[in-house]
Symmetry: C2
Subunit: 231 residues, 2 copies
């Protein structure tokens, strides 16, 4: 089944945007009266009927809507983008498939990348949401300096950082049904002063296991663990 | 720390192969008497001293060796390679980082890809092992028809397959300290007859959660879950 993404349906937008219209009418050759499956990315699935198969602006009328299973937890991963842009996009795709609510890109002292292509990353998230048949589009935040990330709200704040103090594994630290915020550092890891600032701001050090994971792998592993403890 | 890979050290091979020699001497500009950290990919780390800094055949003498922490479990993922070769390589890289002992590529009825570049995939695994500072190189098996996979030995055999019978989640089905074999199907999923054959051969159906995951994501998720229940 093809799932289409159309924001603003509940605000009365009853047509597909240009790209999705093209995909439905030109690529999939859909025609008037055919059934469309849609989501607004905000937790609702819709079934609609095509009323005007315009490849630039395909109009439809809603015949059904169904709320996705409500989430009892919220996963926010703040991650320092990797030097290699593919690895960030890979992380966004996989985290979206596995389930993530918010991704923030964090500017750290040791960040090798200071800019991201936000529009491109949004597209990756949208296509991963559609591919995995979900009704929730993760919120992707622009680059945020580490200091500002300290003030993000959550009721379980953790920083992935392994040192001589051997922190506990995220799998045993995280409690079910919380709003989580997990910080994932850059290739060069967090600077000591960033770690201290995080600890002062109520973040708990967590480990993701014995192996040294790349930034994007650590981000995905965190996401997966938080989904597992909430299943 | 740079970790070098050199097979056969315990059989008396005390030089780096061409690629690693080039990396040590030409790229990292290492010289006689300098310390090398190595692994044989079979669970041993070595410390050595460079005796002949030849960029084609760098010779060394072992000064220390240390066995990696022995593994009490064994993860074997048999996966149908994806149409897009990057996704297979991505899976191999990430599974190696997270921890996997054996990867088999499986030829299924609905497989979209019937050949893999074994040499290239081996390289991906080696560099992921080195990057994540591990002493275990996963064994990568060539393409194997689904029927032959049925006879692979393991003491917990599972097939990732979700249907109306709502199988239990891998996280609750898998028991610690076993030899696991998990089958991950192709984009078009397993054929009904493949599923039946697997069930006849003692495989248990498992779920990886509610979201529809891509083949490579399902493979990595399985690997990660099996590592988590054994930590």
């Amino acid at each position: 089944m093809n799932l289409f993404f159309q924001p603003g349906i509940s605000q009365g937008i009853h047509h597909l945007d240009r790209e999705e219209s093209h995909h439905a009418i030109r690529v999939l050759r859909m025609s008037e009266g055919q059934q469309l499956h849609l989501t607004d990315g905000l937790g609702t699935f819709y079934v609609a009927r095509i009323t005007k198969p315009d490849p630039k602006k395909c109009e439809f009328e809603i015949t059904e809507n169904k709320l996705a299973k409500p989430k009892k937890f919220h996963i926010h991963i703040a991650i320092a983008p990797t030097k290699n842009a593919d690895r960030i996009e890979w992380f966004v795709e996989k985290a979206t498939e596995i389930g993530v609510d918010q991704i923030s890109f964090m500017l750290c002292k040791n960040s090798e990348r200071k800019v991201i292509n936000h529009e491109r990353i949004e597209k990756v998230a949208i296509s991963a949401m559609k591919q995995s048949q979900q009704a929730w589009l993760p919120k992707i935040r622009k680059m945020t300096p580490f200091k500002e990330v300290m003030s993000f709200s959550a009721n379980q704040k953790m920083i992935a950082y392994v040192d001589s103090s051997n922190p506990k594994h995220l799998h045993s630290v995280a409690k079910p049904e919380k709003r989580y915020l997990v910080l994932i550092g850059p290739e060069g890891d967090f600077a000591k002063e960033e770690l201290e600032l995080a600890l002062q701001n109520g973040f708990e050090k967590v480990s993701l296991g014995q192996n040294r994971l790349r930034t994007e792998t650590a981000g995905l592993a965190s996401c997966h663990i938080l989904n597992l403890i909430n299943r």
